[in-house]
């Protein structure tokens, strides 16, 4: 199997699993329990919090554990909106956010908030000037993703956060696709809230975190016991938290080297495909992007049929985003970039990672042209028709 779908999810690093294992059956106590095993579990998750905080340049008390990226972004957006409702009801986000962000804003619109969805340019970049224009005296929150999951495009978060702050708004970023892939310092970025999901960077599924800058007003969304400083109730997922911290530790050490290695493979892939397949387009090739992501538009054919044919060859990729791939909609990200519907239906996302090998890229470059040719032979749109 050639797995090139690392943006959808990653396998756990074996060192992560090893770190988690003792916490299932041996150091299993509830961190809220006052007895010694409970207090040991408490210390273990507080150590994990400290690891993650220093990975981000944050303070320990600014890191809250959640069940994943979706919950983190829901908590950030709905939590701030509720806490600041009396101050204002205008919110800003972008047209290319993940559904975990977009759908929260859509639901807040039904509850009386007004939301501006910022446009992006042809490369999928949100321009700070656009944000400036959108800000109003009653704008309380701006949420723009750090890197887009489909295109890999990096948004100018530091600039956007500065503009938001000048307008008196809180700034959240969905960093699910960047945490663990590129260095992140919350003070350098200048964000107030930042969402992450462990399974996107070799940690386990079902756990994530939300960075909340000290003093940021936020209403908890899951209520119950006094966990996570009253910001998120529920018995802590101890093994998951330990695994996520280990994944951060590994990323901190290895991501520089990975970026170099994986980036070279990605570039090789793109060059190879471009040389061998006519009428394809690599999205946002010339703007700052995640080094592991390549979104390829293939004229005249539809993405799912490409994906399935690659799967027949043991090559795992995604068409658009994993979450929308079972729906009939073309990628909202590509439409926002101005691509026509036909092309937006024909996207294939290659996302590389830690275990991607050069031979695998060679094989993809060898197989892909034949698949495209076969599907174009079936297509009524192919060139000259």
């Amino acid at each position: 199997m050639i797995y090139l779908d690392y943006n959808a999810t990653t396998p756990c690093d074996p060192r992560v699993v090893e770190a988690m294992l003792p916490f299932f059956s041996e150091f299993f106590a509830n961190p809220s329990s006052l007895h010694r095993p409970g207090q040991e579990a408490r210390r273990a998750i507080e150590r994990a919090r400290s690891t993650i905080a220093s990975f981000l340049g944050a303070k320990e008390e600014e890191v809250i554990f959640t069940s994943g990226g979706t919950e983190s972004s829901n908590l950030a957006i709905r939590g701030v909106a509720q806490a600041l409702r009396k101050k204002g009801t205008h919110l800003v986000t972008s047209a290319i956010e993940h559904h975990a962000v977009l759908n929260v804003f859509r639901s807040l619109e039904k509850e009386g908030f007004s939301v501006t969805y910022l446009p992006v340019d042809a490369n999928g970049i949100v321009h700070p000037e656009e944000l400036k224009k959108a800000l109003r005296p009653d704008t309380i929150l701006v949420s723009i993703m750090h890197a887009n999951n489909e295109t890999g495009v990096l948004e100018p978060i530091a600039d956007l956060a500065r503009v938001a702050h000048e307008g008196g708004a809180i700034f959240h970023t969905d960093a699910v696709q960047t945490v663990g892939k590129i260095p992140i310092d919350v003070t350098v970025l200048g964000v107030d809230l930042l969402s992450a999901s462990a399974h996107k960077f070799y940690g386990p599924k079902g756990v994530g975190f939300l960075y909340i800058r000290k003093g940021t007003p936020i209403a908890p969304q899951i209520l119950g016991g006094h966990h996570e400083r009253g910001k998120r109730a529920g018995t802590e997922n101890v093994p998951g938290i330990i695994g996520m911290a280990k994944a951060c530790e590994i990323a901190q050490e290895e991501m520089g080297e990975e970026a170099r290695r994986v980036g070279a493979l990605r570039d090789m892939l793109e060059q190879g495909l471009e040389e061998r397949v006519p009428d394809i387009h690599i999205v946002s090739r010339n703007v700052p992007r995640l080094y592991n992501t390549s979104l390829v538009l293939v004229a005249y054919v539809e993405g799912e049929s490409l994906l399935l044919n690659l799967d027949f060859e043991g090559i795992c990729v995604s068409s658009g985003s994993a979450c929308t791939s079972s729906s009939l909609e073309p990628s909202h990200v590509l439409l926002a970039c101005g691509y026509p519907h036909e092309l937006a239906h024909g996207s294939i996302r290659f996302s590389l990672g830690k275990w991607t090998k050069e031979e695998e890229i060679f094989r993809v470059v060898a197989v892909f042209p034949k698949i495209v040719e076969k599907l174009r032979a079936i297509s009524p749109f192919s060139k000259g028709r």
Binding site: S305, E342, S379
Partner: protein, 125 residues
Amino acid sequence: MYSEKVLEHFRNPRNVGRIEDADGIGKVGNPICGDVMVMYLKIRDNRIEDAKFETFGCGAAIATSSMATELVKGKTIEEALQITNRAVAEALDGLPPHKMHCSVLAEEAIRAAIEDYRARGRKGE
């Protein structure tokens, strides 16, 4: 997600291509929705002698196109018009709920091609 039969028809679609001197051509769907099916029929003595298709679309769209051409071949026009989208889906051992619209498209493609054949006949009369 897909049945073995869908995957098999998708992997090795039958009757791919166009019929240059087709007696009826049906084009349905819309590139904006991500599905376009074109069906070509060769008809002699009220019977469908040959059928081919060209499709832009997902796995289900290609598989239903393939199955639809198989189903119509050798049938009389009246028999072909009896083919429902359910029949196409069942011949493929079912489709996921959100892919049933592909079988509707296949039914529509058959009807459209026959419509075209009949329209030509009326014109030629």
